[in-house]
């Protein structure tokens, strides 16, 4: 059934969901600011889902704004660029913008204040070049999904076939976060342009822009942009504004989650372990659409993004264009952050899915959408966990129709099979269950831990499986070698017997001939023995005394032996075994590859969740 969404078509609903206080004001009241250049930028090589690019600059290099610092390289990773002009002062380990708090390879860039551009190469007419070339350009510009896990946009578009609907996600349902809201209010036209480019690239039949009903200004800006687009582009309305449908969805967390928004707009569910593309849908965040427009129309790489800096510990909450690599400390300082006495939290992302950070030197990366510094009063720290009273509030809130309390019991019991049976993997970690829990159980924390343990267990199992295969292969090889040795010995023994018999016969013959030469006979015997020892076959017929005949016989024997060897199985078995071993190796390799693929998929899913944590729910996540 093809999806058909019109301005008046019905909206569906997803189960569960919650209505936490939105607290979008006052951060959404002021225009997106632009702070002075920070004194230093920390640009991590990896800022998105997938492999990092390969370094192409060295310490001491002077780089221009927009100059690539990494290239896709063999891993086809997404490049990062110099966010402004300046000098690379170091390439070193630096704390990452990640819940783990680990460090990663990071370029330190000292801005020179000139903000001098590297040559830009806009694409004047995307119809003139192939889709592949446009996607290559997007990859070179470092475009990644700005709403979710930061999945490389070019790869997402290239992987999508038969797309019915391209959904531009401007829902931004997580409390506090207003980055997309401000971007839509101020740059609706360019977002629409980027959306149309994406629609062209995906050949999507329809373009739908979804906004939550708590952002009327953004919706109005979009409506105006669609109207303008229709007015100016009358010749291409077929693909342009006329196809762009603006859908206003009711405010309910987490309606901006990719799966939930798809359910709201189409009533369909993304099949388990599948992608939206499987049901003809592709989703992109409004910020991504904006970045695509900048990259194609202006040749600008992804160098900056809108970040919300909010919370009661911040004196001037608002949004800002933050260069990728800006330490969050700088942004907080510019916004008048003053830490409280006790239990001050700094949260990357929103209150529902964000993660707390301990080091303010971590940089803004492509997926950073909010820095939240709440007071204890507005977001009280969690209280002590109490016993579950099976009230079922979590189940009512769960947007994925899971049984959160059941999962909690199972996670506490470390019943991994039970967890898998109850579809723990389908938990999007939105936090709705923990939000409503009257017993203050940190449910999401339990799920995350259980997921990590299950993943760990799967890796261990895989390792054990490989070790078992190796061991079995070795056993088989030893066994084979033993058999070969035995066969060889047996053949040697047979040959020896044959030689002895031949000798006995010869002796009888020579005695009947009456022509006795004991010396020669003895020599022949020695030779025979030697030959026997050498290759286990007696070069028979040494009865004749002349050496030529003996040599001929030896040659014959040799041939016979070779034939025998060729006939006897060892060579073939060896070959067969070699084939078997190769097959086993290939199998192991394949299994390993599958495991890696799975892990990667999980990682993506995982980081998706984390990013959702980092980012607001209201965005495309994948």
């Amino acid at each position: 059934m093809a999806i058909d969404i019109s301005a008046t078509s019905k909206l569906w609903s997803f189960p569960g969901g919650i209505h936490p206080p939105e607290r979008k004001a006052p951060a959404n009241m002021t225009a997106i600011q632009r702070f002075p250049l920070p004194p230093v930028l920390f640009i991590p090589l990896r800022q998105h889902a997938g492999e990092p690019g390969e370094l192409c600059v060295a310490v001491g290099d002077y780089v221009l704004k927009g100059q690539p610092l990494t290239i896709p390289g063999v891993d086809n990773g997404l490049p990062v660029h110099a966010s402004t002009s300046g000098t690379i002062t170091a390439i070193q380990q630096h704390p990452l913008n990640h819940p783990s708090g680990l460090t990663g390879l990071t370029l330190c860039l000292e801005p020179d204040g000139k903000d001098a551009w590297y040559p830009r190469q806009p694409i004047a007419n995307i119809d003139a070049i192939s889709q592949r070339e446009v996607l290559q350009h997007l990859q070179a510009m470092g475009i990644a999904g700005l709403g979710g896990a930061g999945f490389p946009t070019a790869r997402k578009v290239a992987g999508a076939r038969n797309i019915d609907v391209l959904i531009i996600n401007g829902v931004e349902c997580e409390p506090y976060i207003v980055s997309d809201d401000r971007l839509m209010r101020e740059h609706a036209g360019e977002i629409l342009a980027g959306s149309l480019l994406l629609q062209k690239l995906t050949s999507a039949k329809q373009l739908v822009i979804a906004i939550e009903d708590n952002k009327p200004e953004a919706a109005a800006a979009f409506a105006a942009a669609i109207h303008d687009s229709n007015a100016t582009d009358t010749d291409t309305t077929e693909l342009k504004g006329a196809a762009a449908v603006l859908k206003i969805v009711p405010t309910r967390y987490p309606s901006g989650g990719e799966k939930q928004l798809i359910q709201i707009l189409t009533g369909k569910q993304v099949p388990v372990r599948g992608l939206p593309a499987d049901i003809g849908i592709l989703m992109q965040n409004v910020g991504t659409a904006f970045a695509v427009a900048r990259a194609i129309h202006h040749g600008e790489p992804l160098l900056e993004r809108v970040v919300t800096i909010t919370g009661e510990a911040v004196h001037q909450p608002g949004t800002a264009w933050a260069l990728l690599g800006t330490p969050i400390e700088y942004l907080l300082a510019q916004s008048g952050f003053r830490a409280q006495e006790k239990k001050q939290r700094v949260i990357m992302g929103g209150p529902m899915m964000g993660f707390t950070v301990t080091n303010l030197q971590i940089p803004v990366i492509k997926t950073t959408n909010c820095i939240l510094a709440p007071s204890q009063k507005e977001l009280a720290p969690a209280e002590a966990e109490m016993a579950c009273i099976r009230c079922g509030a979590c189940e009512i809130a769960c947007p994925a129709s899971l049984l959160p309390q059941q999962l909690q019991w199972l996670a506490k019991a470390k019943d991994y099979d039970g967890l898998k049976q109850h579809n723990l993997a389908d938990c999007i970690e939105c936090g709705a269950c923990a939000y409503v829990c009257p017993s203050q159980i940190p449910l999401v924390q339990y799920y995350r831990q259980a997921k990590a343990e299950i993943r760990e267990q799967a890796i261990e199992q895989q390792k054990a499986e490989i070790a078992r295969q190796r061991f079995e292969a070795r056993q088989a090889r030893l066994e084979r070698e033993k058999e070969e040795r035995l066969a060889k010995h047996k053949k040697a023994a047979e040959a020896r017997k044959a030689a002895q018999a031949a000798q006995a016969a010869r002796q009888t013959e020579s005695s009947t001939d009456g022509e006795q030469d004991p010396v020669k006979a003895a020599l022949a015997r020695v030779k025979a023995k030697k030959a026997q020892q050498d290759r286990g076959v007696e070069p028979a017929k040494s009865e004749q005394k002349d050496a030529v005949a003996a040599a001929v016989a030896r040659a014959k024997a040799k041939k016979a032996e070779r034939d025998a060897n060729a006939e006897s199985t060892p060579a073939t078995t060896e070959k067969k075994d070699a084939v078997a071993a190769a097959v086993a190796r290939a199998k192991a390799k394949k299994a390993e590859r599958e495991r890696l693929a799975k892990l990667e998929a999980e990682n993506i899913g995982d980081s998706e969740n984390k990013q959702n944590a980092t980012n607001n729910k209201g965005n495309e996540n994948s």
Partner: protein, 358 residues
């Protein structure tokens, strides 16, 4: 500067278990006051003693189980259990009845099964059934409602009855419970409406004959109907406050109503009608305060509907054909037994696992 580390979500609805239990207690207030008005002071004594015993038992159990008693007591669940049991038993039942019932509910039904959240049976109802089976005389000795009792005991007399089973002047509970029928000879011990109907029907009387009794002056029995309305009011408050969901009360009352209507259609003379079923016994109390106990109820919304329907049907069946008129407690316990199997078969379909509609 070090920052505080926490796991998402960082925001929580400030509605703790303790707060929910407070709301439940608050919502019981109208029903409690109605009982106080119609059945005298006894309910206050029952409630006070039950709460005291429950808190003591809860503390001891927590200590025995190596838990901090302070944190365990904070959740108010023991108080709710005590209150539910206290309003269920006859107000002037001897003090040791409520003590035994509360101890059984807290120690055996709750803590021996693992404490709050782990009990498979509703503690108050299990305690009630234990008392009903063990002390049938005391447990059926309900006072006639105010207005019918010939010698309604005052506060002091009630206290004496509660403690010593005799008033200050030496009247026994049996004497106090008599209602005035005009002549001393006719003075009879008053049974609860449901008990009365049941007895009358079992003696061959028709329903209309059974309802001739003067206690059925109002809509469904003097006093009792107002107690039921009061609990209905409290229940609606719980619904409005979203302490409970609509599924259980609606399904239970719906199932009971359907059964009662069908019964009235097919055997109007032999089976009590809808008004009796809904307002003469513990129906409203059960629908909003007993069956909705989250711990021993089914968890999913669909499961709750099945669970509560089962209770409604069982109440009707037990009232109509069982040996006891006190159907609610038995029905709830039987439904509690079915919860694991209900939960097993009412698991919602996880997102993305829906079978493809083709």
């Amino acid at each position: 500067m070090s920052f505080y580390i926490a796991s998402s979500p960082h925001h929580h609805q400030r509605r703790t278990t303790a707060k929910l239990m407070q709301l439940v207690l608050f919502a019981m207030l109208p029903g409690f006051l109605a009982q106080l008005y119609f059945f005298g002071w006894g309910v206050i004594f029952q409630l006070s003693l039950a709460i005291a015993v429950a808190l003591a038992a809860e503390s001891l159990c927590l200590i025995a189980r190596d838990r901090a008693p302070a944190s365990g007591l904070q959740d108010n669940t023991a108080i709710v259990t005590a209150a539910l049991l206290a309003v269920s038993i006859p107000p002037l039942a001897p003090w040791w009845v409520i003590v035994i019932g509360t101890l059984f509910a807290i120690v055996v039904v709750k803590h021996l099964f693992g404490g709050v959240g782990h009990n498979i049976f509703n503690p108050a109802m299990a305690g009630y059934v234990l008392l009903l089976i063990s002390f049938p005389v005391q447990m059926t000795a309900w006072m006639p409602p105010t207005g019918l009792a010939s010698n309604a005991p005052g506060f002091i007399d009630s206290l004496y009855l509660f403690l010593f089973q005799f008033t200050n002047e030496g009247f026994s509970l049996e004497q106090v419970r008599r209602i005035d029928t005009g002549s001393m000879l006719d003075a009879v011990v008053m049974a609860t409406p449901l008990d009365h109907v049941k007895t009358q029907l079992s003696q061959g009387a028709t329903l209309s004959e059974a309802l001739q009794h003067r206690q059925f002056t109002g809509f469904a029995g003097a006093g009792w109907q107002w107690v039921n309305f009061a609990y209905l009011l409290g229940g609606l408050l719980l619904l409005q406050q979203r302490v409970i969901q609509w599924h259980i009360p609606v399904a239970m009352l719906g199932a009971l109503s359907i059964c009662a209507i069908l019964g009235s259609i097919f055997a109007p003379d032999l089976l009590p009608g809808l008004n009796i079923h809904l307002f003469s016994g513990a129906t409203m109390f059960a629908a909003f305060f007993i069956a909705t106990d989250p711990v021993s109820a089914a968890t999913s919304s669909k499961g709750k509907l099945i669970y509560a329907t089962l209770i409604g049907v069982l109440i009707y069946v037990i009232r109509s054909y069982g040996g006891y008129p006190d159907a609610v407690a038995f029905a709830v316990l039987l439904a509690n037994l079915c919860v694991p199997v209900i939960d097993q078969y009412t698991r919602p379909v996880t997102y993305g696992h829906r079978k493809e509609e083709s």
